[in-house]
């Protein structure tokens, strides 16, 4: 006992240990003061409605509402587009009257469509839901699965309903029958001269742009001869890329001529007594592996971007409030005459801003994940499908990625905010910074960009990509990257915090005239 006491006493007298001890005590004191500042600033900020809205309400409510509205609007207009009848101009009907008749027959089989749609409706599949899955057979299958409908059974019933024993079992065919291309063939525009090729394009363009017609078709002069001799012929479709209505018409015409072509091949094969597979020797059948599905892909693209934006937005208002707000409300001098170090003040403020950034980012993540999980966005859940889940480990590593980058945001915003003399000025500095941050975060949407050492060395981009890999479930391949990104981002955040502290000591910053 006495020996121990003597030892500690000697240790205390040693100048080296005394220096270390006093450093330690000073550090502890700075931390104690900054925690006092932190608690006060937290209370202060939480009593501000603006901050609360940006930190809590927008991340939780804005994402679901915004996405729900977009998805409902999309559903509505896609359905409208699918139902709408448009005019297609036939430039030279006299060249192939038989083909025109065939197209007419297929272009508007409304009776059939109605029967298919009615049957599906009776089974609980609404038209709008069906319209969503148009051109996406896998989505249609998932829709049936969700409604508990057996596809085979459905196909049999449909065959009876449309009185067509050839009716295919493929879901794609069911959708195509429920949503046939809805055209009216017209053979004449207004008495305008469109014989000259150069003028004709102009006239057609004008007609498509004014929605007079959606597209125009033109047969080759020798079309019938070619077909009769067992050859093929080209049908020109004039359309406008920029018009949704026109591109829909193009794909409808494609479908029509494809099915017409199939029927012709079948007839030709029959006449030559060849097997049905003769013209189609190889077929591709995609088999989806039970790995991350489309929903995971979607989430891993959108989440990193959202997280970074919301971390920034959540930090912005408290930062402006705690820096420029002090100047605007004239409390800065009150604070500066308190006998505490500037470092403790900066640390306390920084802590609150960091917490706000994290809360906002985490809330946005939870809100988006939960909304997707509950499937409130019909568009996304139908088109993407599959499920997603994060392990605790992934969630923790993701959080570890977010902390230092939020630290960078917090330190930068605090430095800017301390410089600004008013709330308004602070906002005018933060907005351009927001643009600079958001641009690189967008990298998570760029397809094919993988996290490698080059990418890992670019700030913001690296965090965005690291989060993308984590959410895709590729963490095990990227531990080294994630570790290095965490370290470098933390060091960067630390340097910026050091800068903010130095900045907070400058008279030119605190007492700008």
């Amino acid at each position: 006992m006495r020996l121990g006491a003597m030892f500690t006493a000697r240790l205390r007298r040693n100048p080296m240990t005394r220096a270390v001890l006093s450093k330690f005590a000073r550090g502890a004191q700075i931390l104690a003061v900054s925690s006092t500042v932190f608690c006060k600033e937290l209370v202060d900020v939480l009593r501000d409605r603006r901050t609360l809205i940006f930190m809590l309400v927008i991340p939780t409510v804005a994402i679901p509402v915004l996405m729900w509205v977009t998805s409902e609007l999309m559903t509505h207009f896609m359905e409208k587009l699918a139902r709408e009848q448009v005019d297609v101009l036939v430039l030279n009907p006299e060249a192939a009257p038989e083909l025109v008749e065939e197209v007419k027959k297929r272009a508007n089989p409304l009776g059939r469509a109605r029967r298919v749609a009615e049957l599906l409706k009776a089974k609980g599949v609404g038209e709008s839901e069906l319209a969503m899955t148009k051109g996406e057979p896998r989505a249609f299958l998932r829709l049936l699965e969700k409604k508990g409908i057996d596809p085979e059974e459905l196909a049999t019933e449909l065959r009876v309903a449309v009185e067509d024993s050839d009716f295919k079992l493929e879901p794609g065919a069911i959708i195509q029958n429920a949503f046939p291309p809805n055209f009216r063939l017209v053979t004449e525009l207004d008495p305008r001269d469109y014989d000259h090729p150069a003028e004709r394009e102009q006239v057609l363009l004008e007609a498509v742009r004014t929605d007079e017609i959606a597209a125009a078709i033109e047969f080759a002069d020798d079309a019938l001869e070619k077909l009769a001799s067992g050859d093929s012929t080209e049908i020109r479709v004039y359309y406008l890329d920029a018009s949704d209505r026109s591109s829909t018409a193009l794909s409808g015409l494609r479908r029509i001529f494809k099915s017409l072509g199939k029927q012709m091949v079948a007839e030709r094969l029959l006449s030559k007594e060849l097997p049905a597979g003769f013209a189609n020797p190889v077929k591709v059948r995609p088999e989806r592996l039970p790995g991350p599905g489309m929903l995971v892909k979607f989430l891993s693209q959108i989440l990193p971007y959202m997280i970074l934006i919301f971390a920034f937005m959540g930090a912005m208002y408290p930062a402006i409030d705690l820096g420029a707000g002090e100047k605007e409300r004239g409390t800065l001098e009150t604070l500066l005459v308190a006998p505490v170090s500037r470092l403790s003040i900066v640390l306390g403020k920084f802590g609150v801003i960091l917490v706000a950034a994290l809360v906002s980012a985490v809330l946005a993540t939870i809100s988006l994940s939960v909304s997707l999980y509950l499937g409130i966005f019909s568009t996304i859940s139908l088109v993407s499908g599959g499920s997603f889940s994060f392990s605790i480990q992934e969630a923790l590593v993701a959080l570890l990625m977010i902390v230092p980058i939020s630290g960078i945001f917090a330190a930068l915003l605090l430095a800017l905010s301390i410089f600004a003399k008013s709330f308004k000025e602070g906002q005018s500095y933060a907005s351009p910074l927001q643009m600079v941050i958001i641009m690189p975060a967008f990298v998570s949407f760029v397809p094919g960009v993988k996290l490698d050492w080059l990418m890992a060395s670019i700030p913001v981009v690296n965090v965005s990509l690291a989060l993308k890999e984590i959410f895709t479930g590729n963490l095990d391949q990227h531990w080294a990257h994630v570790g290095v990104i965490f370290l470098s981002t933390s060091i960067f955040a630390g340097l910026l915090l050091w800068f903010a502290t130095w900045w907070f000591q400058r008279e030119q910053v605190l007492f700008r005239s």
């Binding site: 409300r329 409390t331 001098e333 009150t334």
Partner: protein, 254 residues
């Protein structure tokens, strides 16, 4: 004021130069080689027109600004070498030391008690005492931005004296206040003297200075033109009025 009492504040050729970039890098000597002393139990007034350098001088003493040259000490602590020790010994109040509007009166005062290193019990004790003294109990839990100007002033006073500092610095504390509210402050400043504090008080109002101050420093264009008891200042002109003495000192406006 008496030779025996110790100088709590001593200022030796304190100078502050601002480089104003907007006005073509012209140098502003806001405080120019100012020297004076202030003692325990006296009220030292700084008298000067707008832009004379009063605020800058007091901010230097409160270590919010760093001097360009010269030195000053508060209770023996150098303002440039031990700023934190200096701030611990002063209570500072000016028109620019507002309250945090979203904190209640009590929270506001408690926060600054904590920043001054006081224990929670000590703060609680002082608050009981001071809130009673100033009749503030009725609004102790009301948010500061909901208080009237007079109530705010009281909270500010309590914030300033909570840690019982030896030196009090007031920078034009009565500007823009009505008679009753400024009365509270004037009474409080007098009370500080009674309790043996050293009070620095800046103003551009002659009557106020005459009523309150024991000694006065006349500051103009950053320079301290005179530093003497109020009586001595008065006797500089035959009329015996402070205003005439002041005008004589700074020279007639051009």
């Amino acid at each position: 004021m008496t030779a025996g009492s110790q100088a709590l504040v001593s200022v030796v050729s304190l100078t502050k130069i601002f480089n104003d970039r907007q006005r073509g890098r012209e140098e502003i000597r806001a405080v120019d080689a100012v020297s004076f002393e202030a003692h325990a139990g006296e009220i030292f007034g700084l008298l000067g027109v707008n832009g004379a350098g009063k605020t800058t001088t007091l901010r230097l003493l409160a270590t919010m600004l760093k001097p360009t040259s010269g030195e000053a000490s508060v209770c023996g602590h150098s303002i440039s070498k031990e700023p934190q020790a200096v701030r611990r010994r002063i209570g500072f109040m000016s028109t620019a030391t507002s309250l945090y509007g979203r904190l209640s009166a009590k929270e506001m005062v408690t926060y600054f008690g904590r920043l001054n290193g006081m224990s929670r019990e000590a703060i609680e004790q002082r608050i009981l005492e001071l809130f009673d003294l100033f009749g503030m109990n009725e609004f102790r839990d009301r948010r500061c931005d909901k208080l009237s100007t007079g109530m705010k002033q009281k909270v500010s006073i309590v914030r300033t004296v909570l840690h019982d500092p030896e030196v009090m610095i007031f920078d034009e504390p009565t500007v823009g206040l009505d008679v009753l509210t400024s009365r509270t402050i004037v009474d409080f400043v007098k009370d500080c003297r009674t309790r043996g504090k050293c009070v620095l008080f800046s103003t551009h109002i002659m009557e106020e200075m005459e009523k309150l101050c024991d000694r006065v420093g006349v500051i103009h264009d950053g320079k301290l033109l005179a530093c003497e008891p109020v009586e001595a200042l008065k006797s500089r002109t035959p009329s015996g009025r402070v205003e005439d003495a002041f005008v004589k000192l700074v020279g007639e406006p051009a």
